[in-house]
Amino acid sequence: MTEQYDAIVIGAGHNGLVCAALLGKAGRKVLVLEANEQVGGAAVTRRFADDYSVPACAHLLYQLQPQVKKDLGLNIALASDDMETVALSTDGQHVRYSSDRVHGVSDADAASYRDFHRRMSRFANLLQTYLNKPPPRLGTKDRKDLVTLARLGLDLRMLGRKEMREFLRLIGMNIHDEVTERFENKLLKGALSLDAVLGTHLGPRSPNTIMTYLYRLAGNGGRLAAPAGGMGAVSEALAQAARSNGVTIRTGMPVQRVIVDNGRVTGVETQNGENFASFTVVSNADPKTTILNLVGARHVETGFARRISNIRMQGNAAKLHLALDGLPVVQGLEKRDFGARLLIAPDEHYVERAFNPAKYGETSPEPVLEISIPSFRDSTLAPTGKHVLSAIVQYAPYRLKKGWDKAAREAFKETTLRKITEFMPDIDGRITAVEMLTPVDIEQEFHMGGGHWHHGEFTLDQFMFVRPVSGAAQYAMPLDGLFLCGAGTHPGGGVSGAAGRNAARALLAREKTA
């Protein structure tokens, strides 16, 4: 006789932990099964060379939703709030910006940036309200759905006529047009373009990139934070919150399948053959993995299975980790500047050109990078005086035409290091260890299909009402007892916890009406 749980959560990623904690808080008996030995999914700190540790996937915190913190009473210590971004220039004339301030540009650009930031923040705030609600269904007579839709309409109107018009215009637009309309400084245009396309299969000219930019802002008002103790600390805090709400978390327990009996979910079976019983299974895994691998398409209907298999989720971001025996030299940067986020995106056309090859299954010969040196704040990550550098490198398409073999990974590593050397000329002599994770590596290590950190491309055709797919945006899947709570659901990826929280709320609300 196996033990019966009220809910089993597959995967202890941050969304899984948030969902489990909230269910636990509501008095449910919850079990979380995590494949890896460590909780946190893509928000983890792990060793990659002797005495060197890095945030292995996500490396900055900017979207953790205040609602999540509040509901779980989280108190995450931040080593840095409102971290500065430095858009690097080879000549040392860098542009620096943090949420609403920019330096190193003309007065006109600075004024325009403030205006830009104010407007974007306002729209992001509007968006944020809806990121923290399950999307309403369309065309139903359900009162709650109608209220949410009416609220959305009202909130748009409350923006005022001018801003509402602007919102309706901007929402489908690309970042390229917006930044070229507003700014003259190339570095600023390049940097904001990169902000909009990080983690996506989009270039700055692709319509939809205003949306991705707004999404980035919808959390902490665009303020970038570095948690004390690294990203792993966030996950630990969430795990702690879950445990204190009575949740059982078992690591090193990869799930083999979701057990379906007579048309409903009855539990899960782990790869080591253990069975756990529950009439509610919540998957933090991506929708494709969940439906096609863990559940099996045969247990759902054909149209739904087809939609799931049509989800676009092929990552483009690689991750580079360097162990350094000291801080590199960057012209125009002082030591304290290494606590900032450093960008290599010299102009908006450069970013677009970096994207071009990704469309054809090739890596960027001139990649764009988001660099952070987490050891600058957290001395536990590297031996004294030494450092680790963590960089997100684009574009490295998951489905590489030639395939991601060792040679391809090495080649992209070389390409990336060459690019970094342009800005950090002495870096080569400082490197003691290198790790490059391609999207395929990320897929394997973090169990996210396509190595895509949004668990599904973040575009309007996969957003809100239609995320993860049409007709299944309310976290409950069309299989009794099955729920999703990961980044593949509304609102999407990033260490925000919104999907996990929405899923828990949707699940509890459903129990109430059932």
Partner: protein
């Protein structure tokens, strides 16, 4: 690269030379790209061959798929609404399949040829849907329309002709059963199925032996008044038998531009084909909801007074006052064998209960003059033509 242009005209079925040789009327149309006779010598006599002796119809253009593989049973069971576990090897099932919204994509017959091997035969083409339905199953779906030649041999003398053809053992074959025979070294599959509501068989084999089969069949039927027939005769028999036709009684759900123009199995009177004891099949969730909420439409068979066929007519609840249409006719015909004015129609719920009287607005023209009658009609539940010989096993010899 030397490219051969795709055939620009109508395709010819492997039986075409024989049909052409028998053709007197030169009345042909296109059916799924194939040239198919409306009628060959006399549409009325062709019809009476079905009801009186034996009519032969070339079925080759029907769309056919072969489903094989370890999961083929689980696959077809999830595909269609009825329980396929009960359809053992050697049996044939009439089935409908739905999309996730519980709307009918098409109907057709599924032949359980052997363990783990099925043939699905339908009017329309469905490869993308069948392949999407195969996600997660170990099955192979192959379109085999042109690889199988098929004949319908229908009518009271058909059994005798089959026996004459040397197909022994058919006497025990019940309706919706199938058997394999050797025909001149080629496998011939015979199923006791048809689209006429009468005693009859369908013959399936590889196109290479099509003409030999035709010749042997007509030789075997020489003294049994065997006749080739066209679509016209078949259509008349189809309506008498109360069978559905795609694009008449329903539209394939994924081919409707306008919302609300498709139909669920319940709305087509196919409740008996929906088995909710199955834990999962396409459309189950939507159909379960419809069962609770009620359907919008009902398909009815109508016995209409008078003798003017009610083609394309509106159906009303009342003849005059508060005249509001409640539906429309989908197929209509004078039934020569029942001497009835019959039709199939779609009416809005709650109309259409058996025995209900409705009114059909019939327009007809006589020597340039158009007339309109409001004909009284009764909803009937049984097929108009349902002879005992259809299901008698063994069939009575002629």
């Amino acid at each position: 690269m030397n490219v051969i242009e795709v055939h620009q005209g109508r395709l010819e079925s492997p039986f075409y030379p024989r049909l052409k040789a028998l053709d007197r009327l030169d009345n042909w149309h296109t059916w799924k790209g194939y040239t198919t006779p409306d009628a060959l010598f006399d549409a009325e006599l062709e019809y009476f061959a079905i009801r009186n002796s034996t009519g032969v119809f070339d079925l080759t253009p029907m769309t056919k798929y072969r489903i094989t593989g370890k999961d083929s049973l689980a696959y077809v069971d999830r595909l269609v609404t009825r329980d396929m576990q009960k359809v053992t090897a050697g049996r044939v099932a009439y089935a409908v399949w739905c999309n996730d919204q519980g709307q009918v994509i098409d109907d057709g017959t599924i032949f359980h040829l052997r363990e783990g091997e099925y043939r699905l035969c339908s009017q329309e083409r469905h490869l993308p849907w069948l392949m999407a339905a195969a996600i997660g199953f170990d099955v192979t779906i192959r379109e085999e329309t042109a690889d199988i030649a098929a004949l319908a041999v229908q009518g009271p003398t058909s059994y005798s002709i089959m026996r004459n053809l040397g197909l022994h053992g058919l006497e025990n074959l019940k309706p919706f059963g199938l058997m394999h025979f050797d025909f001149q070294g080629t496998e011939l599959m015979v199923s006791r199925t048809g689209f006429t509501g009468d005693l009859g068989y369908e013959l399936w084999l590889s196109p290479g032996k099509a003409l030999a089969l035709w010749d042997a069949l007509f030789e075997a039927g020489r003294h049994y008044d065997i006749r080739a027939m066209g679509t016209h005769a078949l259509e008349q028999a189809r309506i008498e038998a109360g069978y559905l036709a795609a694009y008449q009684e329903f539209l394939p759900a994924d081919e409707t531009v306008r919302t609300g123009r498709s139909r669920s199995p319940f709305e087509l009177g196919l409740d008996w084909l929906v088995d909710f004891r199955k834990p999962n099949f396409n459309g189950r969730r939507a159909l379960a909801a419809e069962k609770l909420k009620g359907s919008k439409w009902r398909l009815v068979k109508l016995d209409i007074e008078g003798n003017k066929p009610a083609h394309h007519s509106y159906i009303y609840a009342k003849p005059r006052k508060n005249k509001k249409e409640i539906g429309f006719i989908t197929s209509a015909s004078w039934s020569p064998v029942c001497k009835q004015n019959i039709a199939i129609g779609s009416v809005r719920m709650p109309h259409g209960v058996t025995g209900e009287t409705v009114w059909v607005e019939v327009y007809y023209q006589r020597e340039m003059h158009w007339s309109r009658v409001m004909a009284k009609a009764t909803v009937v539940d049984k097929p108009f033509w349902f002879p005992a010989r259809r299901s008698a096993t063994p069939p009575a010899p002629y």
